[in-house]
Symmetry: C2
Subunit: 436 residues, 2 copies
Amino acid sequence: MKKVTARRPSGFVEYLPQQQAQLQNMIDTIRSVYELYGFLPVETPAIELAEVLLAKGGGETENEVYRFSKGDKEYALHYDLTVPLARFVAEHENDLSFPFRRYQMQKVWRAERAQKGRFREFYQCDADIIGSSSVGHDAELVALTIDVFTALSLGDFTVRINNRKLISGFLEAIGLQAKTSDILHAIDKLEKIGVDEVIKLLKSAGCGDDDSAQIINFVNTTGTTAEVFDKLRGLSIKNETFSSGLASMYELVEQVEALGVDPSKYIIDFRIVRGLDYYTGTVYETVFEKYPEFGSVCSGGRYDNLAEYYTKTSLPGVGISIGLSRLFALVQEAGLLGKNIQPVQLYIVNFGSSSRELALKTAQEFRKHGIKTQVDLDGQKPEKQFKYADKLNIPFVVVIGDEEVKSNSVELKDMQTGKQETLAIDTAINRLKSIS
Amino acid sequence: MKKVTARRPSGFVEYLPQQQAQLQNMIDTIRSVYELYGFLPVETPAIELAEVLLAKGGGETENEVYRFSKGDKEYALHYDLTVPLARFVAEHENDLSFPFRRYQMQKVWRAERAQKGRFREFYQCDADIIGSSSVGHDAELVALTIDVFTALSLGDFTVRINNRKLISGFLEAIGLQAKTSDILHAIDKLEKIGVDEVIKLLKSAGCGDDDSAQIINFVNTTGTTAEVFDKLRGLSIKNETFSSGLASMYELVEQVEALGVDPSKYIIDFRIVRGLDYYTGTVYETVFEKYPEFGSVCSGGRYDNLAEYYTKTSLPGVGISIGLSRLFALVQEAGLLGKNIQPVQLYIVNFGSSSRELALKTAQEFRKHGIKTQVDLDGQKPEKQFKYADKLNIPFVVVIGDEEVKSNSVELKDMQTGKQETLAIDTAINRLKSIS
């Protein structure tokens, strides 16, 4: 038979089981924290009607959308979870209670230029609260993000918080609102190219020396949240947008504090300007300070109107999104993935016939107690069985031979230490339960 | 702004959160049982190269595949999880240990004619063991299937087991192998149209009266497994294929018994003939006897060579597949979904300012103990907050007012009974933990 080479299209990643178990563990962890905060599960079809999904039209994403027709219909694969959420909320508006808190963790597809760490199929893990303008929700998302990354145990991280109204109001106040886009573009580069180069960019955008100094001074406002608020008030800016942003940021911090969040985990940071064309209030990014090359691993913010292309109802909201596939690839390469996940905990070596029969019984006992168990069913030589268990990184092996058949005990071997003990089945079960 | 009607393409289903939580619970249950049996997680891209995915070519599925081109590549969405598994195993052959046990639970897509209970996007939940011909694996899949459906708590079910070699050998022995296809087609209709109509079909397929009687007698062989084996031996069939099938079935039953499986949950059933053109040994179906219209909700069997289109290595295997989306729709409609899943367990009513502050603190306490908790963050009137919690079916509400701020206690209300108690926070936490 003619063979076709088994291969995937470029930009599409898949993992061997051990890694897949780690990815799955991250998905489970994120989901459990989302659920603790009362977010409800939503899953939308991967395929949408092109006309509906691309209602907004234009934009740089449109070229990256996988589109196709089948029969007389034009379809498109979703390229994020926000547009499907808008469509979902508009379609089921009358069946939902607002504020509507939903989480959604699915793969999305974008035909991006294939490059390292960029995938054409990737997981997004989103949490949004729709239908409320109350900044309490913005505050909860800070606590949620911090709980998620704490639970993921990937090392130090900081949630950086900004508010679009602060920078907009500030630029209005100094009469530079017409240059907002260029100025934000320059600020965005601050971490990468440094102050001097940013000042050059600001100059070429038409900012005078004094303007640039003020902008840099504003953007570099740092310190504890109390210090930042002091400095902002000290600027004595008389601008309604700015005041509104300041009030909102203040309330957010108050509620984040009431939530008992570790103050070392979040910071007000005016350098966060990406997404400011889309977000209208609070903006978040989450960074691993020791790994600036990761960029933001969880971004989000507040928007005024989620579903304006689908419904007349105004639906303000706030949300975050974790680009999980990219995060997984990054932390894997950086060696930040903590504990090894063992998809199988116990392997049962046996010698066929009566030994096999007891092996099967024993396996069911362990499984009943939640121990993930595999039995040799191929009658291979014991050495081969041990080698197999070792290759699969199964941490414990039970050997069932003639002696065990007679005595109803098992020999438990710790594959890492090599230590071997003869134990009653119950004792062995409890031992494994206490470890897993 | 011009609005686009928010809608999905036909054949694509999505659920409101309460239902989605139930579907998710089924996914979690199936996955946990698959893992208990030592199956390893695999997830493959939804998009494959058309040339690779459709290497086998032809077949009725090919028209149902969603295909498209992007750039200079031809892509196709996977339409099952078996072909991607074959591609995966062939691609990673050198990195896998055989027998390779993998589970895979993903959506697949088929452009089937849209009709009730038929979806164009649906979940499949597969478990396969690749690289071994040992019938012990076939036996474990019987125990696995029974454990899965027991854990799903959807009511009575039976796993029906057949072996392709028994019917093939039987037909060879009575000289009817040339008519196998027509005969199987007739047998497949037995449950629907009854014996008399099937005999008519057999006649028009060219079977004599005696042949038909023998076939019906064989196919209707029922009873306990011991009785079935007695009857089969009593047929005194001298045919190698038959003998091999009988030996294999006998060994399977022996090992299923060693696994301690409830004998009322499985049956040898020669009416199971679907899939016999694909499977080469053991064949399984799982049915809800009280709901024959469901058909088989979990099918599978043994095959000789998984990946013949991709690799020279012969990879025999055995597997099962649960068509989860269809199953979910069926049991939902039949009212078989047992317990209601509560995505949120506790709602915290509060009255703004100092009450809000304590509400947020209290929420974090509950969350720390695994209670899925939502707080009112919109300062709505208490009646509105209660109404909201009620609409979301949240089973418990805690009210935090001035009294609670002073006393550091909470008032816990059971929304179903209406019963209200003032409790210390720890006591309330323990109460909710004991319920969930």
